[in-house]
């Protein structure tokens, strides 16, 4: 079995992975740095992020206000030391991207322009039209090409972390092109594989978002944190799950029920004004808006379609000119994929699984409890997002914690010994497992797509926008059954060359583990907070649950859940207030920049 060796290895080449790689290369140009990804870097899911990246930029704003919006938005489950570091470093990171060429939208005087965003009290969201993630990713990718020490393994699929002597020392991976199974040793490994939206049937997430990094860490004994917190974005296009960015509401779009009524006024989100008001109505946080949809549906006020019930997003009053200059991608997506023109027609939307607040548990520098293993971006849970992430905080999170993890890993790797012989033996075991379980397997009756479909339906039913104990118990039993049936899987494809069916089967194995961790965290948290809403425990319970869930994997595939206190520095838990209340009297009617 071949083996290669590096100092720092990024698993995943999206926003966090590329930022980490550059940071590591800048700490010490003598280090050997590698990025391994199952896709070419520019295919990574960062590319789909639309609305923008938050970072305090204007004199009317302050770091404390960004911190407060993030912490209250997260229903006080965010670690406040991490949030403080995040809001402090986000503007520098966004500026660094500007210096690397990112085509940010500008004011007429040449300075960076910022826009309003849901749950944010001030305008602080930097944007590149409505393709912010695309431009950030391509800027990072193109910039990374000038760093000689960065080696790339494009289209390699990591199947296992190699751990010996209490530290991570490498991975086993399959080169898709040839089917070759290889060991890649590394002194430090940073997981940057993004989220796991594909465990659900209806998601904005790309096909590649199967929670690989979460499962890799979980199987290696590193705990996952806050996995019950799943963000539904309120405005997905039915059938495709394509996201209509929050910027559409920030620019002044209305949410209407079947009677053409701005129904959010019935859900403690303020009173309707013709122009957008920050932290009010359509600019309330994502969890509240998605929950309001379910209530509206129960009242029979949504619209039935062949792809489920929807409400309408109305952009018509914004006019063609504004839609074309500020929301061109929204119009393109509606026209090309839904055959609807938002300039003249109502856009059908429904809540769609969008983001995982939870992930691999890390400290403020991206380090996990397992030595040599770090994580950054959506795969990680630092945690700045708490129980509900605010829109436009995830892109800067990739940058801030990608850079921090890259630096930390580079410094750590400089002091480590080479890998032990034991991990090479583990790698051989892994190669044998892949051959026996998949490529040379005899018998087996289950199809990948069947088990995947049943898992997705189970997750939507049991771990959807509203949960309760009977549903979660039922889901737990169903996942157990699916794990057993997964062992009986049969592949049509036994080839070595670019075996995407093998890849799908390995992804499904990862997803079943991640699904189990989410189900158990949701079952054990008997309170409602942010995106975790229990019908049987409707209130927040700070006495018992102002704490992070930590979920560990048992040898038999089941899990155990423990709790860890939340770090509170300056903002004691309070009530989340949206709408034009006294507490947020400074919320001002938005004025368009141009």
């Amino acid at each position: 079995m071949e083996a290669s060796s590096h100092d720092v290895l990024m698993v995943g080449g999206g926003g966090a992975g590329l930022r980490a790689a550059i940071a590591a290369a800048e700490v010490n140009p003598k280090l050997s740095i590698a990025v391994i990804s199952k896709v070419y870097p520019m295919r990574s899911h960062t590319v789909s992020a639309e609305g923008g990246a938050a970072g305090v930029a204007k004199p009317d704003d302050s770091l404390d206000e960004h911190a407060y919006d993030t912490i209250s938005g997260g229903d006080w489950l965010s670690d406040q030391d991490a949030v403080e570091a995040f809001v402090r470093e986000a503007p520098q990171e966004l500026l660094q991207l500007e210096h690397w060429g990112c085509p940010w939208n500008r004011e007429p005087d040449g300075h960076i322009a910022v826009r309003a965003f849901g749950g944010m009290k001030k305008r602080r969201t930097w944007f590149a039209a409505d393709k912010t993630g695309f431009h950030m990713l391509h800027t990072l990718f193109q910039t990374s090409l000038k760093y000689q020490p960065i080696t790339r393994y494009d289209e390699w699929f990591v199947t296992r972390l190699l751990v010996d002597d209490g530290r991570v020392q490498g991975v086993v991976a399959i080169e898709l092109m040839s089917g070759k199974i290889q060991t890649i040793l590394a002194k430090a490994i940073i997981l940057c594989t993004g989220g796991c939206g594909r465990v659900f049937p209806f998601t904005t997430n790309a096909a590649i978002k199967s929670g690989d990094g979460m499962a890799l860490a979980y199987r290696a004994g590193s705990p996952l944190k806050d996995m019950e917190f799943v963000q539904y974005h309120p405005t997905g296009l039915p059938f495709t799950g394509i996201l209509i960015t929050e910027a559409a509401r920030a620019e002044g779009g209305y949410m209407l029920n079947k009677d053409g009524y701005r129904y959010l006024q019935d859900y403690n989100l303020g009173t309707p004004e013709p122009k957008p008001v920050l932290r009010c109505m359509e600019l309330g946080p994502r969890d509240r808006l998605s929950q309001a949809f379910i209530k509206e549906h129960e009242k029979g006020r949504t619209i039935e379609t062949p792809h489920g019930h929807v409400v309408h997003l109305d952009l018509r009053h914004l006019g063609e000119k504004l839609i074309n200059t500020r929301l061109p991608f929204v119009r393109e997506l509606c026209l090309k994929y839904q055959n609807i023109d938002p300039v003249t027609e109502l856009v059908p939307v429904r809540p769609v699984v969008h983001y995982m607040m939870g992930g691999v548990s890390t400290d403020i520098n991206g380090a996990t409890p397992l030595r040599g293993l770090l994580a950054a971006g959506e795969v990680a849970c630092v945690s700045i997002n708490g129980a509900n992430r605010l829109g436009s905080n995830s892109l800067p999170e990739c940058l801030v914690f990608g850079a921090r993890a890259g630096k930390t890993a580079a410094e750590y790797a400089s002091e480590q010994k080479p890998a032990s012989a034991a991990v090479l033996a583990q790698a051989l075991d892994e190669e044998k497992r892949l051959e026996a379980q998949y490529l040379h397997k005899v018998g087996g009756r289950e199809r990948v797509a069947t088990i995947r479909g049943e898992m997705q339906a189970t997750m939507e039913r049991s771990v959807g926008i509203y949960r309760d104990e009977p549903l979660l118990q039922e889901g737990t039993a169903k996942l157990r059954e699916l794990r057993e049936r997964y062992a009986d899987i049969n592949l049509d494809d036994r080839s070595r060359t670019f075996n995407t069916e093998l890849e799908s089967a390995l992804e499904l194995g990862f997803m079943l583990d991640v699904a189990e961790s989410m189900m158990q965290c949701a079952l054990h948290r008997t309170e409602s907070r942010g995106a975790h809403q229990r019908l049987d425990y409707p209130n927040r319970d700070d006495e018992r649950f102002l704490a992070h869930s930590l979920v560990y994997r048992n040898a038999d595939g089941t899990s155990r859940v423990e709790y860890m206190p939340v770090t509170i520095t300056r903002w004691p838990p309070g009530e989340r207030v949206y709408g034009q209340g006294k507490e947020h009297g400074e919320a001002v009617a938005a004025k368009r920049i141009r």
């Binding site: 295919r43 060429g101 085509p103 500008r106 960076i112 839904q338 797509a449 592949l491």
Partner: protein, 249 residues
């Protein structure tokens, strides 16, 4: 009247089993919102798990799912079955033209990636101010000068459309030239001189015979043909200037 089923003729090739590519037919249901990619996923999930292709975002931004559809380079996530189903047509799906085939609909991209890197697609400022001094100022008009060329998703449809790429595999090609021009036109960049060696080479812009197919097939309206023309004119003007003024003047 739209047919309720349609036949896909899909190019199949496995280097482990086949001497050369052949076609295999599959019948799939036509749903109004189904694109060619949905049909491929339907086949892979329920009929034949060996069917091999790339895809990810299904929203026209990751650039993975480009294929030849009835002879035209297309993003299959943005190509509706219904637009072919009207006249009982068949849909022929092949890997993107002019690229080596890895398997079925998957092409080899390493040569394309090497060409992208060759044009130095990163900002080369003459004097980069420290971060503490804030952003480079750039007016919306200055952004507009290069913005269009920054929209490339690297889907490689333009290479599959370009007859010069077919004849001369060394030609740098439309997307890479457009990307070079994206940085050349950026007011923060002074690296055009460093990119000249690649662009002004016979395998650079002068390889282009201005067929314009690249611009026609581009799903993101990047206009690589425009970038190439723009660069040629700039290069000729620089060359003429070298006669009237001594170097460095």
């Amino acid at each position: 009247m739209m047919a309720d089923k349609i036949t896909l003729e899909i190019a199949r090739y496995s280097p482990e089993h086949d001497q050369e590519p052949h076609f295999q037919s599959f019948e799939v249901p036509v749903h109004k919102e189904w694109v060619v990619l949905d049909a491929l996923n339907h086949i892979k999930d329920t009929v034949d798990g060996t069917l091999t292709y790339r895809w990810s975002c299904r929203m026209g931004i990751c650039g993975s799912c480009g294929m030849m559809v009835n002879g035209e380079p297309k993003l299959t996530c943005a190509t509706f079955l219904s637009s072919y189903a009207k006249n009982g047509e068949k849909i022929r799906v092949e890997p993107l033209r002019y690229f080596p085939i890895v398997r079925d609909l998957v092409t080899e991209l390493s040569d394309f990636l090497a060409k992208l890197k060759k044009v130095k697609p990163w900002l080369l400022p003459k004097d980069e101010p420290p971060l503490a001094q804030g952003e480079f100022l750039q007016t919306p008009e200055q952004v507009d000068r290069y913005k269009q060329f920054s929209m490339c998703i690297n889907c490689t449809l333009c290479y599959a459309a370009c007859p010069v790429v077919g004849l001369d595999p060394v030609f740098v090609g439309p997307a890479a030239i457009a990307l070079a021009q994206r940085y050349n036109m950026d007011s923060r960049d002074q690296g055009a001189g460093e990119r000249t060696a690649i662009l002004a080479h016979p395998d650079g812009v002068w390889g282009c015979t201005f067929v314009g197919e690249c611009t026609r097939v581009c799903p993101k309206h990047v206009d690589p043909a425009g970038a190439i023309q723009q660069y040629k004119i700039a290069a000729v003007l620089d060359w003429l200037k070298s006669f009237v003024a001594p170097r460095g003047a």
